[in-house]
Symmetry: D2
Subunit: 316 residues, 4 copies
């Protein structure tokens, strides 16, 4: 059975037809008009209609970047779109008049499911996906089932407190893991190093034409891959935080595998090795238990779309 | 169907026959000979035999205070007994020659299951149990299923790091939640207050006959219940840590209910109110999501025994 | 002997003639042209000339908001003015052609000296001044002598680390005391509370016409003085950090008195009481030693000017 | 002029005659009878008498491991001897009937003075001494004057809080620097590593005959000097904490030199290099200021005795 997955982001809507092996047969994209929520709905509806005209569709999965209610119909809250308790599923369903299951899923959850079914997590029953771009998203599969929680808000690990009274987070709390294990953290630390250790920061500065304010994470990664010691140190610090926070998540969930996706994954072993060391250093019961693997994700940016389509299919 | 539950602790073995409503029909107890592991096995075997002669038994659940393998046969590690990769299930099964399922379960997991099925968690699908005595044990039910993890070591939340470089824990790590949210933490803080704030500590000192070294947690609770301001402050600090750590666990699991059991639960609202406030203060997405309840456990010290019996029955 | 003090801030230059009792006999003010450093020099020179024509002057003290060299001639670094290793003393001296001592002093040091000589610290030999406005400045008098350090950069307590891996500071480090004990911290915490606890934040929001982005510290103080519980809580948190950090400074310096000046001092006891409690809670050797007093400053915004004038006089 | 210095420790009393170059001309030692305070007094008196019979003495300096009153007569508190507000100076003076100045000094202060006058700090006006043995003692010289504070309790830096809610300290507070930067911390961390990383800990275990409970700090140092990676890592962690805490002290005092003495100094560069890196990483204003040196002490175990003798001489 074919299913459509629609990934609704802050800047674009990406839809695709996904077969039972997780392969995308056709895609459709449009910009997100974030100003009003009904235009986002319309974009989603148009994308699904366009693809449903070309393929026989058995289910539709919608991916939203925020809190999704446990009945998978409503987006309760999302920081990057004007949605508060937005009945996304019902709006889309009533417009489409398709007689197939339509469900909404959180973006990190959908991506975790895709990695579990078709990607780095195949063959593993208990796994965690961390999608680390500007922020940190997290999804988990527990004994082969997606972990959703009582209200659909499980695995909000980006807001796990890792430092009491730590960095202020945009969520209102302090010391959230996302403030230490994200592309934004990498850039913040790189800028601080440019300020306090200018002699060591020339290679990084070269990659942003001397303008620290315009520095982005990939520039640090590229400098590290070219052998710059400060950039390597900055990635190692990021990796250590990824690993230490993963140990906290692992203390609760006990996964066999932790998968790292998102933009920072481009750093590869420069990130993974410190992450594994950080994980091990904070592993409870070390020496008396197996140790989870930490590996790179394999599904790329379409993971959310593919995962949502597959999850929708299971609802049939 | 009747099932036997056997709770194997550091000092005693408690066994009971449990019916399908979670009621204990008969009990048997003996001391734990911790010196060698085979004598503990023998105690378990004797206890089961004694009860199996009186009731027709359909399953046996054994409760161990440590890491239990995911096939529920082996105790991989336990700090208070001389067991390392100990084949408890097979030892007991071969001696008993009963043709019924025999399974091993971690103590906090078994207690969580008992609260879920028969206690404070009835009617709730997603819940966490914290058993807070000298240490902190944790078990969780996710969507009606006990959370075990890839290797049976999920919800070791007592060793979640809540303070980087914090108190040294007996497990070898630092800053473990158990070091802040346990009866031992309460006593340590009370002793520190006796040393640094002697003028305020007279009521607490009176309850241990002036000997801080002999102070125990219940003495602090009783002083607080009698209105002593320092004791109330100490319990509030304990409760705050319970709540803040619960928020961390909740960020991963998103439970509807957090149940507090163990010795410190005797403090009731003196503990629960600060715990609820601490939880709320660290709740990610506060204001955009439902808030989990925090309540006292209702199954008492037999929770582990009852839960293990019931879990064994589900294996039939 | 009369002396001139000149307080050079980021927005204005304030000069005054100060007598031996610390009384200001005449004042002169002008805006700071921060764009180029020579125009700041000119503003200082004009201000001194204007006052020196009216009074017979025996010394000139210049106050700079930054690192001042130990020979009191050069401003090595200042965050709010374009000065790097700027020979302020020599520039001013060569232009003025006055045959009197001219010295440069750090702003918080000068203010501390003023409080010591004429203000809240009269009669005390060992004291600390904290000037808490948007940031946190600190100066100290040790056994009747201003504490300057080997390179003139002592008592930079605003950048004492109080939380490892804490809030990012503009200085490039993390967890600096200033990030927790300043007007900026008060506003940041108030905004976070508006976001996460909107029901409790109405009184604060009313005082900034519903626009959290425009919220300033005094609005929180006024709400607290009118009895708003959230505002009182926010000031108490600020006070607690002031007190706990003061205990750290006290552990090194052992002062008899800690004086709180700057904008946040307007909160009075709403700040002082929590500060005293926070100090006591972190006092090393509590119970075996005297406890320093924590009091409000009495010299107001002219403290720097008066202190610099008096320090210059001692150089005669 | 010759002066006698007497170093009163928890286990022994060491006295010596010191000339104006800091050279010890004669010594006398006896065990400390800690059970009652008058016997300690008697030991001190005997030691002074014995030396005073051989040399013409102009002053006597007594070194006490605890809080010494600012008039240098009374030991207010000491953790290792039964002294509370003990009039040490007057007891000794009335028994001796010598017509010379007799003063009491804190042990770390006296050692700091010795390093300043005759050791690693010669030629430096602003310096800090850290004596790091089982605990961490600290003394400082500011502009050529010993820093004593309002009540004689300055530079109790071992109890500076470096980790909020960190390790419990024997002083009743938590997170004291001494809990991270001392021989005790080194041993505690080594034991934790033996528990959680047994495969890497064989070289350390060999040096305590396989008995972790009997492990002492010098065994770790020796293993590191022999190239053991885990021991090197443990010393590096210790050094990092020494450096980071030194940056905190430096933020207040701005010394030109930080001197490391005590037992852990035997590790030399294995400790100093990480200490320098840790100091630099937490230096406020880095890049805009000179950087203090971190060097080993040169006066050895007699530093306290020599410093106290010299300080007593200045009282003449």
């Amino acid at each position: 059975m074919y299913a459509i997955g629609v990934d609704i982001g802050g800047t674009k809507i990406a839809a695709g037809v996904v077969d039972e092996d997780g392969t995308i047969l056709a895609k459709s994209r449009r910009a997100t008009a974030t100003a009003d929520s009904s235009s986002v709905d319309r974009g989603v509806i148009e994308a699904v209609r366009e693809l449903a005209e070309q393929f026989e569709i058995g289910a539709v999965g919608l991916v939203a970047p925020g809190f999704v209610s446990s009945d998978q119909r409503t987006v309760m809250f999302t920081p990057n779109l004007p949605w508060r308790n937005h009945p996304l599923r019902d709006n889309v369903a009533s417009a489409l008049e398709l007689d197939v299951p339509i469900v909404v899923e959180n973006d990190a959850n959908a991506a975790a499911w895709a990695e579990f079914r078709f990607g780095a997590g195949r063959g593993v029953d208990d796994m965690v996906l961390l999608t680390i771009g500007t922020g940190l998203g997290c999804g988990a599969v527990v004994d082969g089932v997606l972990l959703r929680g009582a209200w659909g808000i499980a695995t909000e690990a980006g807001h796990l407190r890792v430092v009491p009274n730590g960095h202020q987070c945009g969520c209102g709390l302090r010391g959230c893991w996302e403030q230490y294990a994200s592309g934004n953290a990498l850039v913040r630390n790189a800028r601080a190093a440019i300020e306090t250790r200018p002699d060591e920061a020339t290679a990084i500065l070269d990659r942003c034409d001397g303008d620290a304010a315009s520095l982005k994470g990939p520039a640090v990664t590229k400098a590290a891959q070219a052998g710059d010691p400060l950039a390597i140190e900055l990635l190692a610090e990021l990796g250590t935080w990824i690993g230490e926070g993963s140990a906290a998540v692992g203390t609760i969930i006990d996964p066999a595998l932790i998968v790292i996706g998102g933009g920072v994954a481009a750093a590869g072993d420069l990130l993974l090795e410190p992450a594994r060391a950080g994980f091990l250093s904070q592993l409870s019961g070390r020496g008396h238990r197996p140790v989870a693997s930490i590996e790179l994700a394999s599904m790329g940016n379409d993971a959310g779309l593919v995962g949502a389509a597959d999850l929708a299919r299971t609802a049939v």
